[in-house]
Symmetry: C2
Subunit: 215 residues, 2 copies
């Protein structure tokens, strides 16, 4: 029971205080839902199945999470809050604001940070990705979060790199798209096609990215 809270995958829920005001049984529901949603998708999972796996009565789901969608939201919301901005706050402080002497340092820092985050939350990321493809409103939330602090910070940083003639003169949005494509490719390969996340493979990808975007 307490083991659940020590699961690395659940770190993000502790950080975003989702577990506060939750009983042990309710945490079990959340954890069971994450497991099953990640495996076979939200729409293919019944609340009865979740309750059975969590070892609680089905009604307990609805007294805490209101409805099935509410349970999904409890899983997805921390991701939307974290995938760009929340853990990004920490990231901006420790990484982005320090001066990068080379483009390689810049991308090495960003990509490794993001890959580590995504790999450490693979089940939740799977749920999030699937739902993002289905649900326009989830995509809209991403766009909004993206337009906030994350965008202005990284935008600023890219302009600084352009001023130093370190990075190619493309629209920042194009630069970011290439950056996230490479990161996404690594993650998709890992999550869905069983490819390794070995350090040298990631270094190769970072090397390619640096070449792609150097001036």
């Amino acid at each position: 029971m307490v083991n659940y809270l020590e699961d690395v995958e659940l770190q993000i829920f502790k950080e975003t205080h989702v577990f506060e005001n939750m009983t042990t049984k309710q945490m079990h529901i959340l954890v069971a839902a994450i497991d099953i949603f990640a495996e076979k998708g939200y729409a293919n999972t019944s609340t009865k199945e979740i309750a059975t796996k969590a070892g609680v009565a089905e009604g307990n789901i609805f007294s805490k999470f209101k409805n099935k969608r509410g349970l999904l939201n409890a899983i997805i919301a921390p991701i939307i809050d974290s995938i760009f901005p929340a853990s990004m706050n920490d990231f901006i402080k420790t990484r982005l604001t320090k001066e990068y002497s080379t483009l390689h340092d810049f991308f090495d820092s960003i990509i490794k940070d993001r890959v580590a985050f995504l790999a450490a939350n693979s089940k939740i990321i799977k749920i999030f990705v699937s739902e993002m493809l289905y649900d326009q409103s989830v995509r809209q939330q991403i766009i909004e979060k993206f337009s906030g602090a994350y965008w202005s910070n990284i935008n600023q940083e890219l302009n600084r790199l352009k001023a130093k003639h370190l990075i190619v003169e493309l629209d920042n949005i194009e630069i970011l798209k290439i950056m996230w494509s490479i990161t996404g490719g690594i993650i998709i390969g890992h999550l869905y096609f069983g490819q390794s996340l070995s350090a040298d493979k990631i270094d190769h990808a970072i090397g390619a990215l640096v070449k792609a975007l150097s001036r």
Copy 2:
């Protein structure tokens, strides 16, 4: 009615002869299913809804497609057969076998071909992508198709480029991953985030890819 067959989106079904041995009403079912699956996903769509949109009785779906999953397979199978190998056959003949003088020619040809294919089949691609994320067996089919003619052809071509010192000395699988990441990024941006497929944006991405993988 006949209009359906002129829909660009359905080209792939004509090419793979899916429409043969189908009545007009059965084609309507297939087309309606594509529309609704693409919009809200397979699991969230009822057979009744498909029948209503197609203007037929619900039972008609089951007499032709056996069950709901059979209907999905009729949509997905041509994609699996085409996304790598089938349209790739044509592509290999007209493009891959001619000698490329520069890496830019090589990627320009490949990326534009793939982007055009994916953009011309956006609804079906959306269905395919969603189902790929859910269904292990679909992923397995991709891996198998990938390991066939497509792989040996492109592998050969990449080795030739390496011999000419035109391309970076990474594993071919790593090169392909970077290539497909960039292509995928363009498509995801277009299909799910409403970004344009303008020629100069694609040229920029190709330019970045060439730099990334040049020796």
